[in-house]
Amino acid sequence: MGLKSKSSDLRRRLRNARSGGGEKAIEKQKAIGKMTAMERIISLLDPKSFHEYDVFVEHAGKDFDMDKKYLPGDGVVTGTGMLSGHPVCIYAQDFTVAGGSLGWMHAKKITKIMDHALKLKVPLIGINDSGGARIQEGVNSLAGYGEIFFRNTLASGVIPQISVILGPCAGGAVYSPALTDFVFTVEKITKMFITGPEVIKTVLGEEISMEDLGGARVHCETTGNAHFYAESEEECFSQIKQLVSFIPWNNVKKAEKFPKKSPKTRQYKIDNVMPSDPKQPYDVRMLIKAVVDDSEFLEIQDLFAQNIVIGFSRIDGETVGIVANQPLILAGVLDVDSSDKAARFIRFCDAFNIPLVTLVDLPGYLPGVDQEHAGVIRHGAKILYAYSEATVPKITVITRKAYGGGYIAMCSHHLRADFVFAWPTAEIAVMGPEGAANIIFRKEISTAEDPDDMRKKKVEEYKEKFANPYVAAAYGYIDAVIEPEETRKMLVHALEISKGKEISMPRKKHGIPPF
């Protein structure tokens, strides 16, 4: 056989190995708005940048007549490519081949590309679309999952890991996405749960639809397992591209620098956003947009624990992670979910050299039996832990209220913020004036002829004395009291001057955060 015929033999073999699960299975996949594994990779990555490996890998199943079956690519496509100019390692499970089920060689292909990603120090993207373990391969498929989880953990904090759930992801399979940094979901396509509706019905007698149990909305709104919600796979891919533009390739690199751009001050003006009464709500995302480059803010987990807002922006061309209380929702309190959400984000930013900008306006922690019993002490501690251990530049701006434990938790000087700025409207106090006056002046109020009048008087007195940034500034807990319009200017300078920040932490194997 000459080179020509060998080449045509290769092409024939490639065609065969890339045939997926056949026309019928592919048709079925498309009928429900899903792309095939290869189509997904091609439409996500930069044109002509994808290089596939392990095309000829075959499955290793021996029992139940599996040895007589040929599964093209063993149900998963793996390779490398470029995403918005950044190198990435990627795998996509192919549901059309044996339901994308995970057998030993399928897992081997995935772990091989994961090892590559970790060695080459580039982000890993996993597209999940699988019916679960390949039952015929028994304990070997469990071994496959275990090997994946182990590598997810090794890679955590070294390279960004992104999971895209474009189909079922059930049983043990869910733990790979759970160990990664960002989970993307699509309405009607994402289905993620430990036990499906069938099992729940037969064992427990509870009836629930797949969508209500583990659909995109549920995971983005209720469980907090997912970070991004999209209506279609195309929208999901554009979200991934945007995210990748904000984050570095690995934990020793910096995120890509973009040209500096001013905020769109015509649309977003601090003056228009902020009500002066600390009890009035406003949308903190408008404030963020008023200070960041081009008013661009990529919000993460925008549907979950909305009382805190997290996401990426750029200031003077460089990526920053933003954490901000949201007075619009639950008055911006910290609670179990919001602490959990913020803490994980802070740790991501710290691991990947992304400076943190914190905007503070909160009345404290959410009161209630349900919160106490849900472990708000343990969960609330996460945010203290995450801020305290973060060594990236930390800049805090207190805009209005910073009361009690909330003040400490939101990256105060005591947790080693590098700069804490406060607006003249800031109120740094142990609690709101009404609450404080009621306690401090209890006697005067209860013994007064007109207790209500006395209470009002005492509240005013307290407000006058303590509801301002100057008491904290007098102790040096605030570095500068600034005009709201100066916020961006101060942030630009603080970030610029903190570039060479170096601090040493006590030597340890690892800390023990309260999770």
Binding site: G205, T222, P281, L330, V333, M431, G432, G435
Partner: protein, 115 residues
């Protein structure tokens, strides 16, 4: 001003933290949060959904704490449900063969309970 108009469309709720009332929106999760009520241990509820295998008590029977009330099969396990209190059976709502959901009331026991 267009901004004001937009504000008025939103119907705000309020939330009280440390004696201060804040105008804000509430989340569905917050609205649906469980409201705490003191539990009467004499109200014996299914701690897991399953099937009643056997009921060993009848109305009027005096029971001691730890006495067998019924057997609840769930997740392939036969769970012994014992009386949490000393008292007298007021009502038996479960019978053998019944499928019960989680927190379904199975037996009521009269006992000294201060609510």
């Amino acid at each position: 001003m267009p901004k004001k108009e937009k504000e008025e469309k939103i119907r705000y709720n309020s939330l009280v933290v440390d004696g201060v009332k804040y105008k804000t929106l509430l989340t569905q999760k917050f609205i649906n949060r469980p409201i705490f009520k003191e539990k009467d241990p004499g109200m014996v509820k299914a701690f897991i959904p399953g099937t009643i295998l056997k009921v060993r008590v009848k109305k009027g029977k005096r029971v001691k704490e730890g006495d067998l009330l019924l057997i609840l099969e769930a997740m392939k396990m036969r769970n012994v449900v014992a009386s949490p209190v000393d008292g007298v059976i007021r009502k038996v709502l479960a019978k053998a063969g019944d499928r019960v959901s989680k927190n379904q009331l199975m037996i009521e026991i009269d006992h000294e309970f201060k609510s």
